[in-house]
Structure formats: C-alpha cells, structure tokens
C-alpha cells in the first residue's frame, strides 16, 4: 500500500518545508501588520486613552472587509497587489502576500481581544504615575496581555497552516497541494495518509508549544 512513498519522498519533504516556510513567514508579517492595528483598535476605543471614533470606525471596517473574503477568492482577487509586492503571483513566494492579507486582520482582532482583557485599573495606575500612551502600550498592555497574545498567535498560526493548503491554486506548493495532486487526482491513498499525518503532527506540536509558552509567561 505504501509503494508510492519511496519515489515521492523527496517531494513530500519539499512540500513539508514549503508549508512550514509559507506559514511562518506569513504569520511573521501578519503579526508585524496586525499587532499595531489591534493596538490602535484598543487605544481608540470609546473611553480609552486615545479615544477616536473616526480612526476606530475606519480601521474596524478595514479589518472586517479583510476578514470577509474566503481565502481562495482573496488569493485570486489581490493578484495585482501580490505582483506589486513580491514581483510574482505564483509559487510559494506568491502565496505569501495573500496569506498575510488574510491573517493580518485576524491578528488585529485577536490582539484587540487580548488587550481588552487587561484590567483598566492597571492602566489607570500607569497613567497616575505619568505614563504616556506609548509607555502604556509597551510597558503595560503588551506585557500584561502576553499569555493571551501567545495563545492567539498559536491559533493564528494553525489557521494559516490550514490556508496554505489552498496555495496550490497559485502553484504555491505545500502539503495541501501535494495531497490534492497525488493523493486525490492520481489516486495515491498512501500520499494522502502521510500528508494528513504530517499536518496533524504539526498542529499538535504548534498547540503544545503555544500552551507551554503561554503558561511560562503567565504570572497570574
């Protein structure tokens, strides 16, 4: 039953690496973009230290629009943008901009939710000793919300891992693409089983790592 695995092993390894690469790079950039967006969403919220109805509403809409697209449609819809950013819209690299665009709003909402968990009294205490908005963000909000942010990032990463399966549409490669082309279209059940097992292991490892790290940074 596992006769296909021998000859296809190099391709399985390559696809695994592509999945890891797409996931990690996308999460990295999605965090770089989504984290500030989440922070701004919190600070500009009603009653918060930089309350601004305009900024909050506009950014909120922007994030919601980003989250409305099914990934497969988003990927095709933003092809011009992808070409502009990375010079191509195909291949593993071509899959990264759409993954970032899909994940960044998710990260923004995740960050927003985590930061809103921080007790307002602690923010007041920081303000009462003369902290500026920026100091409140990086000395209070982010450190206090760290366990939640770690867990949120774990969820984001696992979500992005799921999205990468669709990257095959633009020739992005990865395990999902391998499973469709060989496991499904050429009817090689062994390839299908192996890719699924690898994905399961990846998700388990990511989740355990996230849980462990969140516990480690939690001082409550």
């Amino acid at each position: 039953m596992f006769e296909n695995l021998g000859p296809l092993w190099p391709q399985i390894c390559k696809a695994t690496w592509e999945t890891v690469y797409m996931t990690l790079v996308s999460v990295l950039f999605a965090t770089v973009i989504g984290l500030p967006m989440g922070v701004i969403l919190v600070l500009t919220d009603r009653g918060h230290i930089l309350e601004s109805r305009l900024v909050n509403t506009v950014l909120g809409w922007f994030v919601n629009i980003g989250r409305s697209f099914p990934f497969i449609i988003l990927m095709v819809a933003i092809i011009p943008f992808t070409r502009l950013v990375v010079g191509t819209f195909i291949g593993t690299t071509g899959a990264i901009p759409p993954l970032v665009v899909a994940a960044a709003p998710f990260v923004a909402r995740m960050v927003e939710t985590s930061l809103k968990e921080v007790d307002w009294g602690v923010i007041e205490a920081a303000l009462s000793v003369g902290a500026s908005a920026w100091q409140v963000v990086y000395k209070v909000l982010l450190p206090e919300a760290l366990p939640g942010l770690v867990l949120g990032t774990t969820i984001t990463t696992i979500n992005v891992l799921g999205y990468t399966a669709m990257a095959g549409v633009v020739g992005g490669g990865g395990l999902g693409d391998l499973a469709v082309r060989y496991g499904f279209q050429r009817y090689m059940p062994d390839v299908m089983v192996v890719t699924v097992i690898i994905l399961i292991v990846m998700v388990q490892v990511l989740q355990s790592l996230g849980d462990w790290l969140a516990r480690k940074v939690n001082r409550r």
């Binding site: 009294g121 007041e124 205490a125 303000l127 009462s128 000793v129 000395k139 206090e144 409550r220």
Partner: protein, 343 residues
C-alpha cells in the same frame, strides 16, 4: 497643598446626564491626612480621580502645590502626575512584574537611570516592610502585601501628595489596621499630604486629622475629625459615627426597664466624653457628692488616634432634686449629656 474650587463632574450616560460632583470646594493643608467619607455613588471616587486628571472635570479648578492641574495637558500633565502618588482599592499592580518591577515602574516612566532605580526600589521596599518579597509576583502576595507594594510604587517619585482610593476596602480588619499604620507613619516621617476616600468610619478615626462627608457630589459637613465625631450634624454623618460608636440600650435592659416598678426615680442618660474629660473620675464623684446611684448599662470607650473618647449609657437613680443636682454636676465636668426619653 490641594485646593479644589467649584469642581463639577458630569457623566454622559445612555440613561442621561449624571452629576457625580456638584460645585464642590475643598482645601487640604500641607501635611494633613484628610479623609473624605461617603456612601457608594456619593462621588468620592470621581473626586479623587479628578485630582490627578484620571477623570477630566466638567468645570472647576484644582490646584496641587500651587500648580493648576486642570490647566495642564500632555507632557506637563504627565510630569505633574509624577508628584501625585495614588493607591487603589484593588491595588492595580502589574501582574507581569515582580514587587521590585512594580515599584521600579514609575521610575522607568520618569527615565531614572538603572542604578538609581535599584537603590531607590530597595529602600522603598524596606520602608513598606517587603524587602524579602522583592522577587515575588503579585499573585504570590497577600492582599496586604500587594497594597504595600502599591504604596511603595506610589512613593517612588517622591510625591508631595498621596491620593488613596478606598485603600483598605478589599482588606480584612487586621490588615486594614497595619496598612493604616503604615500610611500614618509615612504621613509623619515624610510630611506627605494624604487625601483618602473611604466608606468606613473606622479608617477616618484611625488616621485622619480632618474629615469631609460627601453626599450627592457635595460636601455636607467637614472639620477636624474629633469635632465632627463628637457633634455630627447631618444625618449621614451621624450614621457614619454610629458605625464605630454604636451604643444603644441593649434589648434585655430595655425589657427590664419597661417592667420596673420604681420608674419615677430613674432616668436614662447617654454620656459622651472626650480627651481631658475622659481622664477625670466624673461618675464616682457625682455618686459620692449628690446622693444618687448610677448604673452603667452599655458603653464603648475608644481612642480617636491619641484622644480618648467614649460613650456610656447609664441609669441615674434617685429623687428628682438629687438627679437635677447630679445632672448639673456631670455637665460641669465637661461631659456631653443627652437624656434618653423613650426606652
């Protein structure tokens, strides 16, 4: 040190406008421990938050150490806040930092160099008696210890004023006492002006020099604690005083008095004495000199900081002329006497 002029704070809520503070004026002298007491919703929390502009006043002016806080914005306001320490009911420590890290926080905010921070934090933790807990996280500390960290944090930038927002309301009576003692020590040793808000009269009698009673956003009564305590005028004030000095005729005694046969010969009195008067043997001398008997039914003797203070309910027994003489004699010793008509 703190002057509040015609302060008004109005909250716009979906249910309409709420006037939390209504044209309030208050003055706190340098070095005083000033207590503001009120029921929940009286506006005391808004009041203390306006002083360091955590809440923006709707109208009015606030001066701290001669500086008009209400006129400051941005960096100037942040600089002024460093000189106004604040402690909170729920301590509000950073859970991600150790005791040391929490006390270091205001110094980091002020841009103090690392070496100086270490020395200052070590000294402050010693002041509050937590030198051995420097590396403990708030979750590992008891409520009282957390409040001590809060106090050390509030003192980090050598403030001139310490605002206390219900500092002991989340603590048990024993811990409350130790925290209040610490605050009083700091008040005396550093000459720090303290403005404290609370709903507990005990806190006021324990450490405050001056008290103001707040109701519906207005100060309804204020003065030296001893004065207000002895002669409360407003009903709310009397209620607060009675929470620590609740001396009523016990029910068993009431029943006995209701069925007594020689009712004509007795009178119930509530005697209050304070300071000097408490040190004189007034009752025994009256008994000796006026030919009456005095039966003590209930009582409470306590100290308002260093001033002895007490309330006694007594039964004065004797014929009317002797009783009149005894009353006059008691009044002459400086006791405050109230004849209880109905038992």
């Amino acid at each position: 040190m703190i002057t509040i002029e015609n302060l008004t704070k109005i909250y716009n809520t979906p249910g309409g406008k709420i006037r939390a503070i209504d044209n309030l004026t208050l003055h706190v002298e340098k070095g005083q421990t000033f207590g503001v007491i009120g029921l929940s919703g009286a506006g005391k929390s808004s009041l203390v938050r306006c002083i360091n502009m955590l809440e923006k006043p709707t109208a009015g002016k606030i001066f701290v150490d001669g500086q008009e806080i209400t006129a400051l914005r941005g960096p100037q306001l942040r600089a002024a806040r460093r000189k106004i320490g604040m402690i909170f009911q729920h301590f509000n420590l950073l859970s991600s930092r150790t005791a040391f890290g929490n006390v270091a926080f205001p110094l980091e905010i002020a841009g103090v160099p690392k070496e100086k921070i270490k020395a200052k934090v070590t000294q402050l933790l010693e002041v509050v008696g937590l030198a051995d807990k420097a590396h403990a996280y708030p979750a590992q500390l008891s409520g009282g210890q957390q409040q001590r960290v809060g106090i050390a944090r509030a003192l980090a930038n050598d403030p001139k004023v310490l605002l206390c927002d219900e500092p002991t309301s989340a603590l048990d009576p024993h811990t409350t006492r130790s925290i209040l003692t610490l605050l009083k020590d700091i008040n005396r040793s550093l000459g720090l002006t303290i403005l404290l808000i609370t709903h507990e009269m005990r806190v006021i009698t324990e450490i405050c020099d001056m008290v103001a009673v707040i109701e519906d956003g207005r100060i309804i009564e204020q003065g030296p604690v001893v004065e207000v305590f002895m002669h409360p005028r407003a009903a709310t004030t009397r209620n607060f005083v009675s929470t620590v000095m609740n001396v009523e005729v016990p029910e068993a005694v009431q029943r006995r008095l209701a069925t007594r046969e020689d009712g004509e010969r007795t009178q119930l009195l509530r005697l209050k004495f304070l300071g000097e008067a408490a040190t004189r043997p007034a009752i025994s001398s009256v008994v000796r000199e006026c030919g009456v008997a005095i039966n003590i039914l209930a009582g409470n003797i306590d100290c308002l900081q260093d001033t002895p203070f007490g309330v006694l309910i007594v039964e004065l027994i004797g014929d009317p002329p002797e009783r009149r003489r005894a009353l006059a004699r008691l009044a002459a010793t400086g006791l405050s006497i109230e004849v209880i008509e109905d038992v």
